[in-house]
Structure formats: C-alpha cells, structure tokens
Amino acid sequence: MNNITIGQYIPGDSWLHKLDPRIKLLSLVVLLVATFFIPISHELIPLVSMGVIFLGVMALTYSTGIPIRKVLNGLKPIVFLLTFTFVIQVFYVKTGDILASIPMYISLTSVLGIIIFIVFYQWSKKYVRFKIIYFFAAVLMVFVLQAYLPYVPFTSYTLDIHTDGLMRALFIFVRITNVIIMTSLLTFTTMTTDLNFAIEALLRPLKVIKVPVDVMAMMLSLTLRYIPTLLGETEKIMKAQASRGVDFKESKFKEKVVQIISLLIPVFVISFKRAEDLGNAMEVRGYVIGAKRTKIDEYRIGFSDLATLFISFVILAIIIVVKTI
C-alpha cells in the first residue's frame, strides 16, 4: 500500500502530455460524440470510418509513447461485455447472406467437454501472457466443442452466421475498443490534479445556475489528496490491531465483523480529526468559500491546443456530413 497511484497517470513527455487539460478533455468529448455518431450498420462508409478512427487512435497511442500493452489492459474490465455483445450480435442478426450454417449439439459429451475445458482454462490462464486474447479463444472454443462433440445429444440447434451479424458484431467491438482506448489515453497522459482542473473549467458555465463548481472541485481535489493519507493511516491501524491479535486473513465470519469494526472506528475517528485540522489550516491561510482564487500554475491555450480542438471538431463535422448524405 506504500505506492498506490491515484488515477493511471504515466509520466511522459509527448505532445499529448503537454496539451492543455481543458482542451484534452473537451477534444475527448467531441471525439466520443463523433464515434457514437457513426451509425451501427454493415454498410461500407460507417465501417470504413470506424476503421479509420481505430487506426487514428492507434497512431495517437503510438505518438504518446505509452506501451500499447498498458492501453489494451484498460479493456480488461469490459472483456466480458465485448464478448457478450459479440455473441449476441452473431446469434440474433438474421439478415444478409448466410456465411455458414453449423449444427450445434448440446450433448453429454459436449457439456462434459465444456466443463473440462473451463477447468483447464481456469488453471492454465495464469501461465498465459495475453490473457485477453486467451479469453476470446476460450469463448470460441466453447462453441467449437458444441459443434464437434455431437455424441449422446440432448438437444441441438443450428447456428447461422450471417454476414450482417458478423459485420455488426465487429463494428460494435471496434467502437467499444475505440472509446475505451481514447478515454484511457486521457487518464494516462493527465495528472489527477490537472484533470480536476479541467473538469472545473469545463463545468464553470454551470455557475450561472448557482452550481458551486469551485467548491465541488476543491472537495474533489481534497478527497483525491487524502486517499493515500487515509490508506496509510488504515495500514497503521491494521498493523496496530494485528498486534492485538486480530488476524485479518484467517478467521471466521463472525470474528471478521468485530475485526472490521476495530478497523473502521479508528479510521473514522482519524479522518474526522484530519478533516477538522485541515479545515482549520485552510481557514488560517485565508480560504473563503466562493471567494476568487488564483492558481500557482496558469494554463495558457497555445496554437497546438487550438489545432487539436479544431481537428476534433473537423472529424465530428465530417462524420455528421457523411451521415446525412
């Protein structure tokens, strides 16, 4: 717990790192809108534009010098979603030419085979380097087993793979991947404090309708600031209670409840104390809620910032124009 990093910022020196955080966030929003403006379809233009965006995103990743593996790791949490949408699309879209028609059997042998395969997968996945690809292969294998082990069948069905279904599945797959990579590029190249500043700056117009944007931003930055501190305190209390015989690893559920309480109450007390101290320290140094504050680092929007924003809007415009034609 000594070296937790809040957010995913990877220090670097690329142009994307140097971009003004406000512009970066705004451009991301524009590009996300552009990505979602491309209609889900199996026609050529949307497919090509999605592919172009994918290539662009890849080029962007390359230009930042962030290892591509790290970026792809951002996909991990949604691997299941990706597979699920893919399978649904392949199964339920019934238009276009039939690419293949495969009889599938749910039989004693295939069910057994699948169970054995899943056990094997769970065991073997720790030895595989490319876990995501291995997962996709495993899902494919589940269907292959259904097709090739028809002995002692209970029931059977036919899987018709249509070109449209396959195209749409691919399309959605690439779109989600694009969105994830774009957003992770933002978090990889922007420090949390800068991100916080960007959010504050972009939400500033809401002040007109009396939303206390600056107070919320201050709260957010203080919260982020105190996560490592409180984790450090929690670790200390954990050790102190471990010295009193609390065994956080091996104990029954009933004991666990008491143990969690022995951790929660001290941390709660400490965080209140800290909050009070911090509040006093801020007031002593002249913090007044809602008063105008200056910054130690002022951001200035330069040429490259404007150019980035311009290009993002151009991409959005092109996609809208192409869509309406």
Partner: protein, 282 residues
C-alpha cells in the same frame, strides 16, 4: 529463545525500484531481563526493525527466529500467536481504541487469543491497574478521556495479552514531561517486577540513558552500535552516530571543563544530584 535476527534485510517496494529499509541485521534478544533502547535518525529503519519482532513484517532476506518460530514461515504455519508473545505498542497507540468502554477495549487483545471472558477480564483489570487506570473509569468511553489516559489504556490493551517481550515504538511521543516520566516508570516497574524484556524506540536520549541497559544504534538501515549504554557514551565514534549526549552527561562535561570537576558518568538526574552533593561535601 527470545528473538534472533540472522542477516535480515527488508525492502519496501517502490513504484519502480525498492528501498532498503534495513539490511544485514544480526541481533540476539533474550526473552528475560533486557531493557533495550533502539535509537537512530528518522528513517533509519527503527520501526521496520521492530515490526519484524512480532511478524507484522516478514524479512525479504535472511531469517528472524521468534521464540523458536522461523520467519518467514512455511506455508501452512500460523504466526498469529507470536503477537501474543511479543507485544508491540505502536506510535500514538491511542488511535487504535474503538470499543464502547475502556475495559472492553483492554479485553480485546486477550479475547483475540482465545482467552475466556473471565480470564480476559481478569488480565484486563490487572493491566489497567498497572498503568494506573482507575476502576471508576472502566465503564467509560475511551474517547472521553484525556490523551495521556488514552495512551495508558492503549498500553494496557497490549499488557493484558501478557506478552513475554514488550516492544514500544516511541511510547512517550507527544506527552508532557510528567506523563512521560509516569509512563516510563510504569515500564521500569514491569521490567523490574516481572523481569520482562522491554525494547524501546525513542529519540529522547535522557530516557535512553536513564532507563535502558543496552542500546542499539541504527543508521541507514544498519546496526552501527550494539552494546551497553556505558560503552556507547564513552565510544570514540560517538559523534559519527549523530546522537545527542543525555543532559546529565552534558552537565558533567560542562562542569569538568569549567570548574574542573572530575568526570564520572552518571546516567540520570537523581544519581547526578547525589554525586554533586558528595563532591560538595568533600
């Protein structure tokens, strides 16, 4: 028995590289009759060292042997019981209080080590009386007493486990002078009555010279001195340890320089006063 360190090293894992907190530690601590002070700069590895003594940290290199149990342990071995044998009082232990009443909080430790409620209550009461917590406070909330009392309650929480070795990480930090001597007298009493080994981390050289018998000096994660306090303060390399002389010794040195009073090392104020009276009479 007791605690042995054999070539122990421990490194905290950083983001990219790891930081050696302690390295090449060789140490032998008896389970009875020692009063050890561990001194050294902030960041010299004192806290890391003592956390190895009750298996809160497990060594990266080498072995620690605590009451016959080798650390790091084999996979199936449980090490929780060591924390009953070696009681560790952390810095600012008052933050670990959480129960509704003081007596319940003191009982928490013994109960965790599967003592019966009656026995836990008994040892809790005993521990409370050792640290001077009055019976009328037993049913009070531990959050409604003064800071000094909270610390005593926390210390009692460890004492109630009846550890064989007591390890104290800066127990007097943040206390006023009176609270400091009171607490140290409690430890001295435990040490003298029950012949328990006490290990003390502190920055206060006056406490070191008054109470400790053996001193371990840590510098940048290594033991640079391990021996009797008499030897330490007379050591030719003393200045290289970046430590301060305790006040009685400073006074004696000053008197030697200014009025030529013969220098006889005295480690606490009472014996210093006696010595001065003696010299005065002659």
């Amino acid at each position: 028995m007791g605690i042995q360190f054999k070539n122990v090293g421990y490194a905290y894992k950083g983001f990219k590289k790891s930081y050696d907190a302690i390295k090449n530690i060789n140490l032998n601590i008896e389970s009875k009759g020692e009063f050890i002070a561990i001194v050294g700069h902030t960041g010299s590895g004192k806290s890391t060292l003592v956390q190895h003594m009750n298996a809160l940290l497990l060594p990266n290199e080498g072995n620690v042997i605590v009451f016959g149990q080798q650390l790091p342990p084999k996979k199936s071995e449980k090490i929780n019981y060591l924390r009953q044998k070696v009681g560790l009082v952390f810095q600012f232990p008052e933050y670990q209080l959480f129960e509704e009443t003081i007596i319940k909080d003191i009982m928490f430790g013994p109960k965790n080590f599967k003592e019966t409620s009656e026995h836990a209550l008994e040892s809790a009461k005993k521990a409370a009386s050792i640290v001077g917590i009055d019976e009328s406070l037993y049913e009070q909330s531990p959050f409604r007493i003064s800071g000094g009392q909270m610390r005593r309650v926390a210390v009692a929480g460890i004492l109630a486990m009846e550890p064989e070795i007591l390890v104290l990480d800066e127990p007097t930090r943040g206390l006023d002078p009176k609270g400091r001597t009171d607490l140290m007298e409690i430890f001295r009493e435990i040490h003298e009555k029950e012949d328990k080994t006490i290990i003390l981390i502190t920055h206060d050289m006056d406490l070191v010279s008054e109470y400790a018998k053996r001193i371990i000096v840590l510098s940048e994660g290594k033991i640079v001195f391990d021996g009797k306090k008499e030897d330490l303060f007379a050591h030719p390399d003393f200045n290289s340890y970046h430590l301060d002389y305790p006040t009685p010794l400073k006074i004696l040195k000053h008197l030697e320089e200014t009025i030529g009073l013969p220098f006889v090392p005295k480690y606490d104020f009472t014996s210093l006063l006696e010595y001065l009276k003696e010299v005065n009479h002659e």
